[in-house]
């Protein structure tokens, strides 16, 4: 093996004032560098393959099975559009999106890689930003492809009427944005909690607990139950689908639907990211 390499520093140490100067040009590092690096990271571990593969299988599979089931049993179709049947796949796929989101951070903490990362990039904001941008882009583009293709397949299988453009955009673009944001929220939680199991459990609690609580609170505290049901993440996600939009409406009356839900989640995610930044900045790693 190469024990001693010929000295590359062309400058004579004495001539350069005793300090080594690298022949590789130095430039300021920026967010773009961190994004490229993050992309290398996310594509080079198997957990990405497994969770995103799971997402594809869960989303497409559920969508097709439901469409097929409805077609076979020929239940009366409520609003005449097949778009709504995409919701169930999205709900299942959410688990994969959350898991990988949490893992992008918690795996750095559990392996100790975070120390290498923060030594190579001391700007915590840049590390956090790059992770969020890359994961958002990955989930968003994958979800866009999935929602689109599933919707087309379901419409073909069920021979349903073609949806209005607003419905179409809400059920594809809207759902993809919402899912990608939930992915980023999971990342923030992963950075805050550090521990994969803890963060995933917390994320599942955030998603499922309000809905479960609402069911048990209907009789003792109907008002609280209404609020929980309206603002629970599954109901918010459902509000992107035309036929399911009434689901939240029935119980919560004038609850937020569709794009309003998206803005709420943007706010929540921004808050969580702020918390994650503060934690990374202050904590010893």
């Amino acid at each position: 093996m190469s024990a001693v390499q010929p000295s590359r520093g062309a400058q004579d140490p004495a001539a350069a004032g005793g300090v080594y100067v690298s022949p590789i040009p130095v430039r300021r590092a920026h967010l773009g560098d961190a994004i490229v690096a993050e992309w290398t990271k996310i594509r080079s571990v198997r957990s990405t393959l497994w969770t995103l593969g799971g997402l594809i299988v869960a989303f497409l599979g559920t969508g097709l099975v439901i469409a097929w089931g409805v077609a076979v049993t020929s239940v009366e179709r409520s609003s005449g559009t097949a778009l709504s049947f995409g919701f169930f796949g999205a709900l299942l796929g959410l688990i994969c999106v959350m898991t990988l989101g949490v893992l992008t951070f918690s795996s750095e903490f559990s392996t100790g890689l975070i120390r290498t990362t923060l030594t190579a990039c001391p700007s915590r904001a840049r590390v956090l930003g790059a992770k969020a941008v890359v994961y958002f882009a990955v989930v968003f583009s994958l979800m866009l492809a999935l929602t689109w293709s599933t919707a087309v397949l379901q419409i073909v299988i069920l021979d349903a009427r073609s949806p209005r453009p607003g419905e179409w955009i809400s059920a594809t673009l809207g759902v993809s944005l919402y899912m990608a944001l939930l992915g980023v929220l999971s990342q923030a939680l992963g950075a805050l909690v550090k521990h994969a199991a803890g963060a995933i459990t917390a994320m599942l609690g955030v998603v499922l607990l309000p809905l479960v609580l609402a069911l048990f609170l209907i009789s003792p505290l109907p008002k609280v139950s209404d609020v929980l049901l309206t603002y629970s993440i599954p109901s918010q996600l459902a509000s992107f689908y035309p036929a399911l939009g009434g689901f939240a409406g029935e119980n919560g009356g004038s609850g937020p639907t569709g794009w309003t839900s998206l803005w709420i989640l943007v706010g929540v995610t921004a808050l969580a990211m702020g918390g994650a930044y503060a934690a990374l900045e202050r904590r010893d790693t």
Partner: protein
């Protein structure tokens, strides 16, 4: 950029009630390998983590090239650090790990292959680092530190887990990096390694600075040389006579368990003269130069954090069926003699190697040789 590349000023770190680093000030200069020594838990790693901004000091500052590390515009181009060889994602290949680090600071991807070659991991670069041995992990960590071709290098226990060839390689690497005008700070527990690698030493104990000086000064100040004398065994009373004569000459003698005399305060030729005058035959008269390890042990004695006690196995002894007492051989320590003649024909000593002393014999595990604890490598 000042000539002092790393500068700590009154650096202090407390974890709750425990003070890990206590009012520590030092400078690490370019062009030298600076050894960073201290017992376990003395605050070496905490100090190194504070240098690269992973831990925030409770008070005080530490700067690299005059700036706090977190403010360096492109950190890996200024400071390369190996703090923990296990700080990698085991599921990622060595190549991808380094590639992501290179991209993080805009280093061309071709540099990854370069450093993989430097640390000798090119053959396994595509494999997931989960399967790496400790030594391979160290090499990967060193590759990551070298990636940015930085001016300042920090290595926390770099030879941990490396084979002798790897240790030699790290030693030459450190020296070369320093000779190129870089600032190299290395922590290690291996004193013999530090003695041949480092030019300068920073020694801490319980988080405080104990010494900041050249290796030579450190040894000179913290130890003393002595002579080892062995008188002929076949004439009892000679040893006592010599000890008395040396005492009269102003020397101090200390009797070692194996019959040797440890003499300080009398130069070697004078010992020989005194023995000759009294008609005492000497079988051995050798100078003993203090090693860095001895100097270090002496200095840090009071600062050791985790001291071991004898394993007494109290209460576990069985009265009747105790193991047979060890048979102590009559002449226990003969390690420096040439082994008996017939062992030369021993197949284990083939390959024309002289089976004479120390190292070769030890490697072959020749039986009947008592461990030589007092005979230092130096």
């Amino acid at each position: 950029m000042g000539p002092e590349m790393i500068e700590a000023v009154r650096l202090t770190k407390r974890y709750g009630a425990k003070t890990a680093v206590d009012d520590l000030s030092f400078r690490v200069r370019p062009g030298l390998v600076t050894g960073f020594l201290g017992p376990n838990g003395s605050g070496k790693s905490t100090t190194m983590r504070m240098i690269v901004g992973l831990d925030r000091p409770t008070s005080g500052t530490v700067t690299v090239g005059g700036e706090p590390f977190r403010h360096t515009p492109n950190a890996p181009r200024t400071v390369g650090a190996l703090l923990d060889a296990k700080a990698v994602h085991g599921g990622r290949s060595a190549r991808n790990h380094l590639l992501s680090l290179a991209q993080l600071s805009g280093i061309p991807a071709s540099r990854v292959e370069e450093v993989l070659g430097v640390v000798g991991l090119r053959d396994v670069a595509g494999k997931r680092s989960k399967g790496f041995s400790l030594g391979m992990g160290q090499r990967l960590g060193i590759a990551a530190a070298l990636l940015g071709d930085p001016q300042v290098l920090l290595f926390d226990e770099p030879v941990n887990g490396l084979d002798p060839e790897g240790i030699y390689w790290v030693r030459t690497l450190m020296k070369r990096l320093a000779a190129e005008g870089r600032t190299v700070l290395v922590s290690s527990h291996l004193m013999s390694e530090m003695a041949v690698t480092a030019d300068h030493l920073i020694v801490i104990g319980r988080g405080r600075l104990l010494a900041d000086m050249s290796v030579r000064d450190f040894i000179a100040r913290n130890s003393s040389d002595f002579a080892r004398v062995r008188v002929a065994d076949d004439d009892p009373g000679q040893r006592e006579r010599l000890a008395a004569a040396l005492g009269d000459a102003g020397g101090r003698t200390l009797s070692e368990p194996d019959g040797m005399l440890r003499v300080t305060g009398v130069p070697l030729p004078r010992i020989s003269d005194l023995a000759h005058k009294d008609g005492i035959r000497l079988w051995e008269l050798s100078p003993h130069h203090a090693s860095l390890e001895e100097a270090y042990m002496r200095m840090t004695q009071s600062a050791v954090e985790h001291r071991s006690t004898d394993d007494e196995l109290a209460g576990f002894e069985q009265e009747e069926q105790g193991p047979e007492p060890l048979v102590v051989p009559e002449v226990p320590q003969q390690g420096w003699y040439v082994p008996p003649a017939d062992s030369r024909r021993d197949p284990r000593f083939a390959h024309g190697r002289e089976p004479a002393a120390g190292a070769g014999e030890e490697r072959d595990g020749a039986p009947g040789r008592a461990p030589e604890s007092r005979e230092d490598a130096r």
